[in-house]
């Protein structure tokens, strides 16, 4: 990405400012579903005051782990502003992709870091972890109380009764489309899922779809922003809890879900915060589903790199996450 083009784009967003300057443009590693760039900007406001702000650009990659669009994230961040769920303030979106080669949107940079392993393992965060765990549960309950009708672009099943099968079929379609080799473990997983569909939720809620330690910003003992809404949709609230409890996020390599607290502690805090009542069988269904979905995401990434759609080596590496997740799937459904 060229600094000059970015500065020219920003100049259009601040038409009265004669001196928009861009600095510290750098790409952030990870986020394999969308390119993430950070930069600082400064300009003179109409009243003559000097302004400066840190921004994040989320730009479509040439190929990715996910087939998603900027509109959904932009709409969600816009709708969630002021809802009590901490999210960055979104500023501009370019759907045409004419300004910086591909479609993108810009949001203000929040304070904090996302480093999951450091949060969950480092002694410096030992005292912060219980508080972060509690906030993580409270914010999830808040997300699940959000009015989904405020975001028309959100994918949703026809009714709560269809919530589970809607997601199972979505990811089965993705597997059939993207798997480059037969996937017997995932086939076993889909068979199990279709036989263990949970009872419908009371109502459809906003499901984050990737709610895990590593997808929120934290500063000290405070969660400052919930990120990565590419897989958000309307569905069963327990789907998000299934993702939370996955073995893959047990960063401390012990029993703590998300590397922060026990499974029971998280469920108790979530329910006490006004979240849905959690049934153990329903949670197990969504845990199995989450592991299957996780594998399929990486199959899509592997296909992208094998077909030469992207040079991002992370997509080759993440394919090697799958064997460990397959072991977990088999353990859960055996």
């Amino acid at each position: 990405m060229q600094v000059e083009r970015l500065a020219a784009y920003l100049q259009k967003q601040f038409p009265g400012a004669p001196d928009v300057a861009v600095s510290n443009l750098s790409r952030i590693f990870g986020g394999a579903s969308r390119e993430t760039w950070a930069f600082d900007a400064s300009w003179t406001a109409a009243d003559g005051s000097q302004q400066q702000c840190g921004f994040i650009i989320r730009r479509d990659p040439p190929a990715s782990l996910l087939d998603s669009n900027n509109d959904l994230e932009f709409d969600l961040y816009t709708a969630l502003a002021g809802s009590g769920t901490p999210v960055p303030r979104v500023r501009w979106i370019d759907r045409a992709g004419t300004e910086l080669e591909r479609p993108f949107y810009v949001m203000e940079r929040l304070p904090g870091i996302t480093d999951a392993a450091r949060l969950c393992v480092s002694p410096e965060f030992a005292e912060a972890r219980p508080s972060i765990a509690r906030q993580k549960a409270q914010i999830l309950a808040k997300i699940h109380r959000f009015d989904i009708d405020r975001v028309p672009s959100l994918d949703r099943p026809a009714s709560p009764a269809d919530a589970a099968l809607h997601e199972v079929e979505r990811w089965e379609r993705t597997m059939r489309q993207d798997a480059l080799e037969p996937q017997p473990v995932l086939e076993m997983g889909f068979s199990w899922l279709k036989r263990h569909l949970p009872p419908p939720p009371e109502r459809l809620v906003l499901v984050h779809g990737d709610y895990r330690t590593g997808n929120f910003l934290y500063e000290g003992s405070t969660i400052t922003g919930i990120l990565d809404w590419e897989m958000a949709h309307a569905g069963d609230p327990i789907e998000d809890l299934g993702w939370v409890v996955m073995k893959s996020w047990r960063w401390a390599r012990d029993h703590k879900v998300g590397g922060l607290c026990t499974r029971d502690e998280f469920v108790t805090m979530y329910e006490a915060s006004g979240g849905a009542k959690v049934n153990a069988d329903t949670l197990k269904f969504w845990e199995v589903f989450s592991n299957v979905k996780f594998c399929i995401i990486f199959l899509t990434g592997a296909k992208s790199i094998i077909e030469g759609k992207t040079p991002d080596l992370l997509l080759a590496l993440t394919a090697y996450v799958n064997p460990g997740v397959e072991v977990e799937i088999l353990e859960l459904i055996k």
Partner: protein, 157 residues
């Protein structure tokens, strides 16, 4: 011929690490380099045993599919009969030890397993599918062991 292929991969990895990596300025490029180094390690790890691993896996999978087909034949249900009739044909053992031929055989065997999965997986709970239970247990154990062989420890918690 020395260096052999594994030694070449290691030499390339070492050379890149020594001469290219220090020149990288951005954190993003350095992170991509770290990923590349890990991928070189995976390629080396899997290289030497690739052929015998596939030969062994194909033989084991073939035996389990034969057991599955025999168990299905004992089940008096339309879906069991249909599964036998419609599943892809079990591929002939590869006459070649080329990786490409062994991989094709392996994919063919796994495709048969995929086709039978909707009957094998429910066997644990469905009394009518009881003849498949030993096959299910053996297949799950085999699939788990097969996946464990391919685990990259730093990638899984």
């Amino acid at each position: 011929m020395r260096p052999n292929q594994e030694e070449l991969i290691k030499a390339i990895q070492t050379g890149i690490g020594a001469f290219f990596a220090p020149e990288l300025q951005s954190l993003y490029a350095q992170s991509q380099m770290a990923v590349a180094m890990t991928l070189f390690g995976i390629a080396q790890r899997d290289y030497d045993s690739a052929v015998p691993d596939l030969v062994e896996a194909n033989a084991q999978l073939r035996a389990m599919l034969a057991a599955a087909t025999a168990a299905l034949a004992q089940i008096d249900r339309d879906d069991a009969r249909t599964a036998i009739e419609t599943a892809p044909a079990v591929p002939e053992p590869s006459a070649s030890l080329r990786l490409s031929a062994l991989r094709a055989e392996h994919d063919g065997l796994r495709a048969v397993l995929c086709a039978l999965a909707p009957l094998i997986e429910p066997a644990a709970d469905d009394p009518a599918l009881a003849p498949l239970r030993p096959v299910r247990a053996a297949l799950f154990a085999w699939l788990s062991a097969d996946s464990k062989k391919r685990v990259v420890p730093i990638l899984n918690n």
